[in-house]
């Protein structure tokens, strides 16, 4: 059952007399219980994409394309970032754990109170019920000593603990879809493994659909059902994780996989030549062509259109690699 469908979503901002395209023609779907990993380098538009799904972009960001949320057999079409429907789906259908999770918690209120505030917005329980539910949520995200943490301020918690409180806040509205924006990038190996295990448990228990934004390929490969690779504001490859692991079709995906494999084996990987292009610069043709080993004249001149695999999975490359 499809819960979210994004079709040709583009986001641009006016800049002097031009427009800067932050996202260009992004398309994907998310089914119930599915985990989609979005991978890309910093500044490629991963976080902008997720904020646009929640209607959190500033008003001057112009969005085009369609965003459909399926809720109890009703399709909610979201046309722009000011759509009033966002208020009904935010928190209860889709919620998000932000990149700087400790920074996304209000430092002036106790953790428990903040969870209760979310519950007041989304559930119709009495204050006592809300408190009990908040304590339950704190327990659900793997924290012990729940009563004590309920009464603590965010600065009294460690990084890993505040990450979990941010998760409890996101889960308080009982959402169908959870967006986790780089949830583990600031955590060390042990805390990261624990956090991902927790997400796995919650996904199974609540039948959650997850959108995991990351630049850690290991996490994405081990955790997701499908992967969207982004580069310079575009989706360049969208595949089932298993297919991608067996044979990536885009040279950029292959380069990333090679780097990760080499690192896992303790070898020095071959780096991708050149710099990540700035989103403000428009690159003619394929955005990856200045760094691609397979560049030809057509890559420099024409933007590659998606070549579809089974379903809506695709690759955007003039010279795709042979994939299984």
């Amino acid at each position: 059952m499809i819960l979210l469908s994004v079709k040709n979503l583009s986001v641009q901002i006016p800049h002097h007399d031009k427009a800067i395209h932050l996202l260009k023609d992004i398309s994907f779907t998310l089914k119930r219980g599915e985990t989609l990993a979005i991978i890309g380098e910093s500044g490629c538009g991963k976080s902008t994409l997720c904020k646009s799904i929640l209607g959190l972009l500033p008003q001057y960001f112009q969005t085009t394309g369609s965003l459909t949320v399926y809720q109890n057999d009703v399709d909610i079409q979201l046309h722009n970032q000011n759509d009033p429907h966002f208020n009904t789906i935010r928190g209860s259908n889709i919620s998000m754990v932000f990149q700087d999770a400790p920074g996304s918690i209000n430092p002036l209120f106790k953790c428990g109170q903040q969870i209760v505030d979310v519950l007041k917005e989304h559930a119709s329980g009495s204050p006592i019920q809300n408190k009990q539910r908040a304590i339950q949520l704190i327990e659900q995200v793997g924290l012990t000593d729940t009563e004590d943490i309920f009464n603590k301020y965010p600065h009294q918690l460690s990084g890993g603990m505040s990450q979990r409180i941010a998760l409890a806040l996101a889960l308080a509205g009982n959402p169908d879809i959870l967006i986790a924006d780089e949830p583990t990038s600031s955590l060390d190996v042990t805390a990261k493994t624990q956090y991902l295990d927790l997400l796995r448990k919650l996904r199974a228990k609540n039948n959650l659909s997850l959108i995991l934004i990351t630049h850690n390929l290991n996490d994405a490969l081990s955790f997701s059902d499908s992967i969207l690779i982004m580069y310079n504001g575009r989706g360049i490859e969208y595949r089932h994780t298993a297919d991608l692991q067996q044979g990536p079709a885009h040279p950029y995906t292959k380069a990333l996989l090679d780097i990760q494999t080499a690192l896992n084996q303790g070898r020095l990987p071959q780096s991708i030549p050149g710099e990540t292009p700035s989103i403000t610069k428009s690159i003619p043709g394929c955005p990856f062509h200045p760094r691609c080993p397979k560049t030809s004249d057509i890559c420099r001149a024409t933007l590659p259109q998606p070549t579809f695999f089974l379903g809506n999975h695709f690759v955007c490359c003039h010279h795709p690699l042979k994939s299984k």
Binding site: E41, S42, G43, S158, G159, G160, S185, L187, D188, V189, T190, A191, T193, H215, N216, L217, N218, L221, S222, A255, L256, I259, Q260, T261, L263, N264, G266, L268, P269, S271, I272, E275, T276, S278
Partner: protein, 260 residues
Amino acid sequence: MNSPIQKQPVLEVKNLNVEYPVNFRSGFQRETKQAVIDVSFNIFPGECFAIVGESGCGKSSIIDAILGFVQTTSGTILFEKQDLMKLSLQRFRKLRPKIQPVFQDYNQALNPRQRIGDIFKETLPRNLRESQTDQLLTSVGLSNEILNYFPHQLSGGQKQRIVLARALSVKPSLLLLDEPVTSQDLSVAVQIVELLISLRKIMPMTFLLVSHNLSIVQLLADRVAVMKNGQLLEQQPLSTLLQNPKHDYTKNIISQTTQL
């Protein structure tokens, strides 16, 4: 990897203890937390010594202690045979450029109001500035177009290279790398690691690398120390540590790093 050339260590840390005050509410009784407990290690010239451990284990406190950013409780830090804690402020300031840090947060390491060119005006002598700036930028893989830019106009990788070039501009004998690639993308992280490896080949450089990422550490380090709760659990040459870890915690870190 370079192997230790001389026997005399560049840096000797002996029984270092660092503690921080916590919980000021308890009136006159001052509660403290031990961040570094009885840590000892040596770093030899040309060597890359790495400290691996989880967040909050005290890795960065060691770096802060070496740089004089925090007061140590006890222990000695000998840099080129001089005890850093017993030096007068004047002598410490004179010695300090020989120890250069490269921090994780490259955004905070650069002044947002200062053009990149002005950074090097502070560290390089006027008569040699132009040629040495070019040389430095080339060594970190940047062109001199960048000199007119402000930090916000650069990508993360470029900023980290500038931080590295700034550290190298005073010709340090010890470079302290505190999680130098943790906040970088995979492809940029690999480029920075490649750069550090090539720098070690062209200039005599001693590194103290601090990281929680063993997969990056194993590309650079000659010897590795594993740290937990302020204490060094074990320190061994990299290959020995990977093949024959003594401590369960080390085994755990290695297994978590290598699993795909």
